[in-house]
Subunit: 765 residues, 2 copies
């Protein structure tokens, strides 16, 4: 760290790239933060050197706020554009606005002011109208069906091509990768501009194709792409990987904020689920970012109401204590579904990885899209957008609703107001035929959605699973809700259901609330989110009174899910892909010590285990350039400890491979007298040696303050240090002398077996 | 840490107390967490050894949840009792329920069903009624005034006596101390049962005395007392200081949750403001705790409505973009007030500490209570409870309100409904005389509250300042709101105010919203809370639509406040009292290295600075019991490094003073052959020495994995390590050999000067 501060101070004679990272490498948080403090100090020091420096210092102080503002605004804009595009394309599957094809159904009918009778408007033509097939009912149905499937396949293939050609990283939800990136890993281009564009367009196409996926998870990826883009405008963030992650944390909060219109939930999601290193002072900035994004999106008003949120519910009725029993049941089912989904999805993804299937992503997408489209169309609940279906399911039936789901027996009540009798339509809680039909349809939709999502999440197009999971949960919840309602109606005089029924015909059970609770339970089972999920749902419903049902269901769901496997879907995908992610939440129970994990093994007893090469070290003053270069060539380590001498391995510091090879090649090229026979010195004083070749002084590039531990340190403490300090490696000493080294890779390999994972799948540096 | 694991394994021959802490000591987080893991591992290992062990393991797994549930429930109960008691006593100042003196005014009138005309009820007698002085108006006023003042003084003195006699720690808000405790400091009895009881009773009395203080901050203290009490029921938490702090973090969330009925705000408050070490897995548990507390409190229903919250507002009108200008103004004023308050209050508290005033706390309380009561009574806004005043200020005026504040000119509009004409009363936005009167009263209340709070916060009775700060802000906001309203009414045809006015007589400006924003701004200025404040206010208003105004005001207030001094009131009090608190949020800009801070100074150049004693070390095998005891007596360090030999200071481990002296005195007493001349061995193998006295083997008590750093480590990194790992001390090495030691005290002393603080005021071990 001292080395790095020297770096910035006087690195005129060393190449620029020193201090940066290679692709797929782990960052060293402590070092990066020290670099940032150094930079900050320089700016403060120069502050009074004139107006320009003053402006620079003000710019620096404000850049964090400006950057998150820009990120928030852009995220809001992107989300708005994606929403509009996806709506237009989704509507395109059913019909077209004849006078202005660029308008979606709602705008088409609204702009021409032809709403007229009900939902029907003249400007909007379905494909069967356009092709004149609306004469016979069968013909109309077949035409619509065919167009629905054709458009779906076109959109699906287009999305797949986009991803394949422009940015392969744009596939999937992106959250596992963003978790990994935020934990301090470099994946170049994962958050690039091409990824942003491809993901945005791909999301519109994928959603419009009617696949069982959502655009909420990918919003986080899109927001992080915006975050990375704008961080380059501010060197404070752009050139420092650790600081950049502060912006990315804020961006991921903005992503969830626009996905659900839930800024507080977004913050908590970023804090609980995505972020690794979240200094509290960025909490406020992230909140600002999330608010800005939600505010910009609101001006687009894609949710079609005054409220910020996606599934705004208007009911305000109380819930009753006995209802907690079905809520717990919903939680159990949500947890079971979550575990089942995770296991099945991971098994399928593993099969895809290991079999030939993985070589034909486009064919896979084609097949999935075709099956989805063919099976979706006949069922009204799967035919519509998934988020629209959830919106319908969480609503309470009013007396005016004439959908199947709300087909309760109605009756007119007469009221007397000021001598005038007014007839008011009230709904009862007795079921009509429509509800039975709707229940059948919902049951089919539940099975279909539950199964197809397993095969959809993981195909090579942008795909989130918030919405499909919530849809499954909402269907389940609504069905249970209707069941509970009818049980209560049948037993309305039972004292257990006291207060819940006014009469046989009117019981205050709201199946919409059950759907809401079910959505939370299923999402909780799949992602294992807790506080953030409750807060997101709380922001969606907008009232504190349902927080207890939501909490009970989420809690049950998480406990039941955890009983079958501790990991949420994102962690499972991280493990499946072998990303170097050291979970900051998990408690590892290890009985080992540093000496059991370090490389080389068992060096403390003087006898190195045969398989292990001895520790590669550099001595402070007794190696030549050739020797160092040979060491660089013969090993692949990312850094080398610098010791006093080979005999007494007392530690001086640590030097990174990248820095060392850059410095040597630079010196060989530019410095007179430095040649292969030159001695390499890491000491402060270099002995005068007029006869030999010019010595190469490299003290500047070594880190004089490497983190060290003793060989007897329990691994639990070592893991804690890696997590909390964000280390890349630590040196192991015994009574002061160097014994070995533990890298993040070693730590991950060591903790992995306890999670039934193949340690070889961790591939990174 | 290895030492501590040995401790638990086989410490049969060592005294029990090893591993505990003394009062006013700093805890070692890493060591405590390692101890807990060891304990956990033992339980898991024994799990299959029979039913009893199985039960124990289940008990252990669930104890966290059970404990926070108990804490939450008890906190809710305490809050409910305090609320009821405070209401009763507050009402006692004005009158009494003749038939049942134990009822407060509302219950008295409600239970006897005598509400009758308006607010008047026969069972409730004011003191002037009781003493027959209600004949003349002046007599009645004077009698009431006198009783008001007398009761206030009685309550004030009682509160002061309670605190002085039973628990001096019960004074103040408690939040600064709890922050310090949560950061890893031991203050015995601060969270004891006596403190809990005294604080609860004292709060009721203090609030009833009509002093300018709130009971919201102290709720956090009460909740933490409950937390500590219940943690003793679960050895997992009770006997481990680091784990206990997880419960305390949850408890502080519950405290805020019951204070405002805002569980999510409570969590964020705990996370942002109070907690130091907040593992994310406890986030969920804290949320559960906060919810349980809020739920229990709700069954008491002290806020008198269905909603959980304190100042429930029912308005739902939109706000307009131009209104952001007054909101920013309110933010600026809030920030200015906050800085002024902090500076004035700290100056007064410092004066109290250094002058003779501090010796007469009861007289001080008497004087403050007398002045407060005398000045409060004549003004209706200060006479009522502060929280009641805020409740009135944040309300919107309806047409039915006949208070002064809502004395707008009214008129009747006629509507035709089904051939019947109905007259409806609508309010205009033209001011009546009452509003002018109310404005004057509010202005006086503002000045009075603003000044008296400075002298009240810090007297030796339980006193929070959420409510007084919010009151000042709410008055300010309401006044500005009425001003803005009238400006808009006067310029209702200005295009800038487009949309805001329907006609001259009806403009949609809601002064209640301004009061709400003002309360947030003032509270933000005083405490410098950010996200948690916005979320608390959001939960109070219950709607996302006002989040932008609240955010703008809080943000402005924080920025303005920070320009005059970075610290919030709690941090200022921590500094004033010299608590050893290492701020986890602040970024220290330090240019020093470990070698500049460690003790002894400058040892690296071979010459110890004269003032500094050389480093006290223990050698692994060459000291006798007498020598070690002499070392213990001649120094006051809390621990000693163990090195190979005095000549080669290569580090073996670290031993704590407490453990060392316990072990030696234990061995001298109980072990045969160990005497003063015995050699003390910290090595694995002890040489056979049949002639001399039995050697004393102490390897078990040393920590073989002390955290070490090199002398060149920048202090920024050292501070980061202390904060993140919760260190108590770290050893400084140079090329493997020991140079010195840095304790938390040294770090605090080193960072303190940069904060204009007297380093000598840090008094702790």
């Amino acid at each position: 760290m001292q080395g790095s501060s020297n770096l910035t101070d006087s690195l005129d004679d060393l190449p620029q790239e020193i201090g940066e990272y290679d692709d797929f490498h782990t960052i060293d948080w402590l070092r990066d933060i020290a670099r940032d403090r150094m930079r900050h100090r320089n700016i403060i020091k120069k502050k009074n050197d004139g107006v320009w420096e003053k402006i620079k210092s003000v710019h620096d102080a404000w850049s964090g706020w400006v950057c998150v503002l820009l990120v928030g605004v852009t995220t809001g804009l992107c989300a708005g554009i994606i929403d509009i595009g996806a709506t237009w394309m989704s509507d395109l599957k059913e019909g077209i606005c004849v006078e202005a094809f660029w308008l979606d159904r709602e705008q088409c009918c609204w702009s021409t002011d032809q709403r007229g009778a009900g939902d029907y408007c003249h400007q909007w033509k379905t494909w069967s109208d356009v092709f004149g097939a609306s004469g016979s009912e069968a013909g109309s149905y077949v035409t619509s069906y065919v167009f629905y499937v054709i458009w779906a396949i076109i959109f699906g293939i287009l999305a797949a091509m986009f991803v394949k050609v422009f940015a392969p990283y744009a596939c999937g939800s992106g959250i596992p990768e963003i978790k990994t990136i935020l934990s301090g890993f470099i994946i170049r281009n994962y958050l690039g501009i091409w990824t942003l564009l491809t993901k945005s367009v791909g999301m519109m196409l994928a959603v419009s194709a009617g696949l069982s996926l959502g655009k909420e998870g990918p919003y986080v990826h899109v927001a992080c792409c915006c975050g990375k883009f704008f961080s380059y405008l501010f060197p404070k963030y752009g050139s420092n990987e650790a600081k950049k992650r502060e912006i990315l944390s804020a961006a991921s909060a903005a992503g969830v904020s626009v996905a659900f219109g839930a800024p507080i939930g977004g913050i908590l999601f970023s804090l609980e689920e995505v972020s690794y290193y979240f200094p509290l002072k960025t909490l406020w900035r992230s909140f600002f970012c999330a608010m800005a994004a939600a505010f910009v999106l609101r001006t687009f008003n894609p949710f079609g109401s005054d409220s910020l949120v996606m599934f705004y519910v208007e009911y305000n009725n109380p819930w009753y204590m006995p209802e907690l029993i079905p809520f717990i049941l919903i939680g159990v089912l949500g947890g079971l579904y979550g575990s089942f989904f995770i296991k099945a999805n991971i098994a399928w993804c593993r099969y895809r990885k290991t079999s030939k299937l993985g070589n034909y992503p486009i064919i896979e997408i084609l097949v999935v899209t075709l099956i989805t489209a063919l099976l979706s169309y006949p069922n009204q609940y799967t035919r519509m957008n998934t988020s629209e279906m959830i919106k319908i399911l969480v609503q309470q039936c009013g007396p005016e609703d004439d959908t199947d789901l709300c087909d309760y027996k109605r009756n007119y009540s007469s009221y007397l107001l000021n001598t005038t009798s007014i007839k008011i339509l009230t709904s009862s809680t007795e079921l009509g035929d429509g509800v039975y039909k709707a229940l059948w349809m919902l049951a089919l939709a539940l099975i279909f959605k539950g199964i197809i999502t397993i095969f959809t999440f993981g195909i090579k197009i942008p795909a989130g699973l918030f919405i499909p999971s919530m849809a499954v949960g909402a269907i389940m919840g609504r069905m249970i809700g209707i069941g509970v309602e009818q049980i209560v109606v049948a037993n309305h005089d039972n004292p257990f259901f006291e207060n819940m029924c006014q009469s046989k015909r009117f019981c205050r059970i709201n199946p919409g609330l059950y759907a809401m609770v079910g959505a939370a339970a299923a999402l909780g089972g799949v992602t294992r989110m807790t506080v953030s999920l409750v807060v997101i749902m709380f922001e969606l419903t907008g009232g504190l009174q349902y927080i207890v049902p939501l909490m009970v269901a989420t809690m049950t769901s998480k406990w039941v899910g955890d009983a079958f496997g501790k990991e949420g879907i994102y962690d499972a995908h991280i493990q499946l892909n072998g990303y170097p992610f050291l979970d900051s939440k998990e408690e590892f129970t290890l009985t080992t010590q540093a000496s059991d994990v370090m490389r080389p093994r068992c060096a403390r007893y003087g006898s190195v285990v045969e398989n292990d090469a001895p520790l590669s070290v550099i001595t402070q003053d007794s190696m030549t350039v050739t020797e160092v270069e040979h060491l660089l060539k013969s090993t692949s380590h990312n850094g080398f400890p610098v010791v006093i001498s080979q005999e007494s391995q007392y530690l001086l510091g640590f030097v990174l491979r990248r820095d060392l090879s850059l410095a040597i090649s630079n010196a060989l090229k530019k410095k007179d007298g430095v040649m292969n026979e030159s001695s390499v010195y890491f000491t402060t004083r270099v002995p005068d040696n007029p006869t030999g070749p010019t010595p190469l002084k490299l003290r500047k590039i070594i880190d004089l303050a490497p983190v060290t531990i003793t060989d007897q340190t329990p691994m639990e403490i070592v893991v804690e240090m890696f997590r909390k300090l964000g280390l890349r490696q630590t040196l192991v000493t015994h009574k002061g002398s160097l014994l070995g080294i533990i890298t993040k890779k070693d730590v991950l390999r060591h903790v992995a077996p306890s999670e039934n994972e193949n340690p070889d799948s961790i591939h990174f540096n």
